[in-house]
């Protein structure tokens, strides 16, 4: 056990117990804090950092730098929606909780305030709100607030392109009976480094659908937490990632069932191709004592397309009450192997086409879950570009 220091953690959440956790400690015991020093600098042995691309992420853990900016491309917003800058102390106060690791604590500390996207109570926005975030190779720290008033409904798509050294903390607040479909697209250039933490709090009867798509970037580490604050809420978290040679993509999930009668589904799928392609998925679900009638299922599937790629998949389900509706998890990593390739080719299908067939089939259901037609149709094309990348790597 690491020695903990209760005095330094801010008492933001119910469980702010200090530094570090033993591998078998409850997920509830992880510290959260706006003070980066509470976390110390990770050395790679910590549970939440042991699979991470620490060498690439290192600059994002230092209490310096980050003066650059991303170029925001914000459309004309409909009535009931605002997008404004918020000063630093107010931004912290409006966040649903404090950051859960050093990277996002540093992001908040050095962002100099937050951008807040707010949808007013009972505003129902039919068209997706599509916001672009483009990096011009700068070093950037960001803090973002997404706030859904009670009864509000909206779809928000954040598309990240270009290159950056970027860390961020995204707070998502769903008022009672609000509905949000939040899509985060990581379409970075090949040299981008991105560490992000998305934390959501779900009010009574609210519905969050969150999709994460990570295709680009050298190292991307994107952690999503959803905590239920009121009964009857539901969260669906989808993730799609595709790592090729030289890419390290990590997605950590944490669903905190703290109140009764909530539902959660986590579905992440990843494909890997190329010798040094690396992906990590860690899915933690905690069903607390109070969370009776919880219904939860999490799933991670990985498809390894070529030799040398490595996918780690770690599901954790912690159950503190017997009175649940259902709880399960599944994790599997399969190889598209030589025999499958031979079978398809023996039917006249070329090697490239065979891979496309398998990868399309693997992702098809998931893509349809995103629920934003423009994103769904462009995604298949982007995935096919990824596949062409493999062919080029192989020919090289």
């Amino acid at each position: 056990m690491t020695v903990t220091d209760h005095t330094r953690a801010t008492a933001d959440a119910a469980h702010s117990h200090g530094v570090g956790t033993a591998p078998d400690a409850s997920r509830a015991d992880r510290p959260t804090s706006f003070d980066p020093e509470v976390f110390g600098v990770p050395n790679g042995r910590e549970e939440q950092w042991r699979f991470s691309a620490l060498a690439d992420l290192k600059p994002l853990l230092a209490l310096e730098g980050g003066e650059g900016h991303l170029a925001w491309d914000v459309p004309e917003l409909p009535a009931g929606v605002s997008f404004v800058e918020v000063p630093a102390d107010e931004a912290q106060a409006r966040s649903v909780r404090a950051p859960g690791d050093r990277a996002s604590a540093v992001a908040v500390a050095r962002s100099g305030g937050a951008m807040a996207l707010k949808v007013d109570a009972n505003a129902v926005i039919d068209e997706p709100i599509a916001i672009g975030m483009h990096g011009a190779g700068e070093d950037v720290r960001g803090h973002l607030l997404v706030e859904m008033g009670p009864g509000a409904e909206a779809t928000v798509v954040l598309t990240r392109t270009g290159s950056a050294q970027y860390s961020e903390f995204v707070s998502v607040d769903l008022g009672d009976n609000a509905g949000l479909n939040l899509v985060l697209l990581q379409q970075w250039d090949a040299d981008a480094v991105h560490a992000g933490e998305v934390v959501a709090r779900l009010g009574r009867d609210s519905r969050l659908r969150g999709s994460v798509v990570t295709l680009g970037g050298k190292a991307v580490r994107l952690n999503t937490s959803a905590a239920f604050a009121g009964e009857g809420a539901s969260v669906d978290l989808f993730g799609l990632y595709f790592a090729d040679a030289g890419q390290h993509q990590e997605h950590q999930l944490f669903v905190d069932h703290a109140v009764p009668r909530c539902t959660s589904r986590v579905t992440y799928k990843g494909a890997l191709a190329g010798k040094t392609a690396r992906t990590v998925w860690i899915g933690d679900v905690l069903i607390r004592k109070e969370a009776e009638a919880t219904d939860t299922y999490e799933l991670n599937r990985n498809l390894v397309l070529t030799d040398g790629a490595r996918a780690d998949s770690v599901p954790n389900l912690e159950i503190e009450t017997g009175e649940i509706e259902g709880a399960g998890h599944a994790s599997a990593t399969g190889r598209f192997d030589d025999e499958q390739m031979f079978y398809l080719r023996s039917r006249g299908i070329s090697e490239d086409e065979a891979r496309k067939l398998v990868v399309r089939g693997f992702f098809a259901d998931l893509i349809h879950e995103i629920g934003v037609p423009a994103v769904e149709s462009s995604l298949m094309k982007l995935i096919e570009l990824e596949l062409e990348q493999i062919e080029e790597d192989e020919d090289a």
Binding site: D338, Q340, F342, Y343, R345, I349, E353, V358
Partner: protein
């Protein structure tokens, strides 16, 4: 009219104990409309012959030639061989998760014929062929071979053969593990394709039972990596009665 000509074919496989020679000089010629039964003991190299013709990367051709209408088959990639008109119904068809049967069939048909099939006739053709093979239409939406029973996998192989219309098909133990009803359905399928397209067939089998449904023109006894004896349908009867002992002594 097509001819598959196999001459002096030698093939080996890499094993942990070194290179193992499996095919030791196979000579065989199959023409359109002909059915050649290949019978031989376990491990004699029948599947290796089938895979070598189809181009499985595990097997290295060390000597000999395979031509289809004079074209060098061994110089072709696996998918080129299929496009040239060769088809292998596998002894153990492979499961391909995530790829539906209907998508797979359409992609294969498009690849083999060089253009996407006309949607309306294609849907009709697939349905008819599946009906004829007593495959429920729900198979179209299932993943390729995933969770199929042994008999369903074999029917699915014949379905592909019917839809892809090859010139020469190699059926590697398509009859193994089938009950009498399934055997009849599959055999009728093969005969239908033969009748409609003049398919040439290499029928690898352990049992004479299938030969009551699919009449062979020639029977080849395959022992120790080569054809040990050839004859007409009567040779099959003799093998059934006597077994392979006579040939194994020679080998």
């Amino acid at each position: 009219m097509s001819t598959l000509e196999i001459k002096n074919l030698h093939a080996s496989v890499e094993t942990p104990d070194g290179t193992k020679q499996i095919l030791k000089g196979v000579d065989l010629t199959i023409k359109s409309g002909e059915t050649h039964a290949i019978m031989g003991p376990n491990g004699s190299g029948k599947s290796t012959l089938a895979y070598s013709i189809a181009g499985h990367p595990k097997y290295t051709i060390t000597e000999g030639t395979v031509t289809l209408d004079g074209e060098d088959v061994l110089a072709m990639s696996v998918d080129e061989r299929a496009k040239a008109g060769l088809f292998l119904a596998m002894q153990y068809p492979v499961e391909v998760p995530g790829v539906s049967v209907s998508n797979f069939l359409r992609t294969a048909k498009t690849a083999v014929s060089g253009e996407a099939p006309k949607l309306r006739t294609w849907v009709k053709d697939v349905k008819k062929s599946m009906d004829d093979l007593r495959m429920d239409s729900s198979f179209a939406e299932r993943n390729v071979n995933e969770g199929f029973s042994g008999g369903e996998k074999k029917r699915h192989e014949i379905l592909q053969m019917e839809l892809l219309e090859p010139k020469i098909a190699i059926l590697d133990e398509t009859d193994s593990g089938l009950d009498v009803d399934a055997l009849r359905i599959v055999s009728e399928g093969v005969n239908r394709v033969k009748e409609n397209t003049g398919l040439g067939v290499m029928l690898i089998t352990h049992y004479t039972r299938i030969l009551q449904y699919i009449k062979p023109d020639y029977v080849h006894v395959f022992v120790n990596g080569r054809v040990a004896e050839e004859g007409g349908p009567e040779l099959a009867e003799r093998l059934e009665a006597e077994g392979y002992d006579r040939f194994l002594v020679d080998a």
